[in-house]
Amino acid sequence: MKLFAACRLVLALCLSMALSGSATTSAQTKPSGRAVGPVIAKVRIDLFSDFQCPSCKGLAEGTLRRIKEDYALKGKVRLVHHDFPLPQHQYARHAAILASAADRLGKFDEVSEVLFRQQESWSVSGKVDEAVDTVLTLEERKRIREIAKDPAIEAAIQKDIELGRRMLVGSTPTMIITANSKPNPVVGVVSYPIISKYLDQLLAQ
């Protein structure tokens, strides 16, 4: 029985590492804000998102925030953020790089929140760094600029994009909700009351 449990854990860990991509880079110094919830959670949500996409902002600021609070932080589901910057969004990749760099300082949540909050402004002006700076100290700003130059950050984003393509992600935001090894894509902005009913149904199975 213990052997079975151990095997299951190893399998889940391998799957998580393979899917999480940049969420678990070797250079990680603090717990990642990109993946929330237990690795062996019954339900896993892989979110493919673009910081410059207005629908991603809508999903993040409404539904996802509540999923994180009510399900991921309570250990019911594992929520993993994957970067999927779309080619038509000029500054999305740079925003993803800064968010990934901030993750190494344990500031992913703060940076991703400000990127979405000020999306309308920086997506026109291109002043992504300025938006990010508003939630960082002077020391953190300096460190983030250095970390952002690390090729591993860019590589992790590319890995996320490739993972998304393998999972047939065609647009953002896309959530791949996996339960009992069965993945189901949910595309676009969906409301919290309906997705929570679906998650409850999966958790009750």
Binding site: S171, V186, V187, G188, I194
Partner: protein, 132 residues
């Protein structure tokens, strides 16, 4: 027959999965309130199934063809509206996992044209029948 089979298949793809997953597809169009999304997600697959069976069996063809045309016209309008708004969402046509695209619009357009033709033919054929 073919149109009926398409309706039956569309119903099958929705009924074999959780109805809430289909509710999420409808919800992503962001056109309806929550109660309407949930009600439609419960009812629509059964309506499609009933329409499909009726079309295949050829019962009340004039009326089922009109009903199929109305349903497809509604789908097409909603899809077109969302596509022009640039919503990157799931079509929800045959279960989940198919993005709303020009391809899905073209397919729905062909089905709509077929339904209109069927409705027109069934009403024309009826009116041409010799009367005693």
């Amino acid at each position: 027959m073919v149109l009926g089979a398409v309706f039956v298949y569309a119903a099958y793809t929705k009924l074999r999965q959780s109805w809430l997953l289909f509710a999420l597809s409808i919800d992503s169009y962001q056109l309806l309130p929550q109660w309407a999304v949930l009600t439609l997600a419960r009812l629509l697959p059964w309506l499609e199934l009933a329409l499909g069976i009726a079309l295949i069996a050829g019962v009340w063809l004039r009326y089922t063809a009109i009903a199929a045309t109305s349903v497809l016209m509604l789908f097409f309008s909603v899809m077109l509206l969302s596509y022009t708004k640039g919503a990157g969402i799931d079509c929800g046509c045959f279960g989940v996992g198919e993005a709303l695209s020009l391809k899905t619009l073209a397919r729905d357009g062909v089905l709509l044209a077929a339904a209109i033709a069927l409705a027109a033919l069934s009403w024309t054929a009826q009116s041409l029948k010799p009367r005693a």
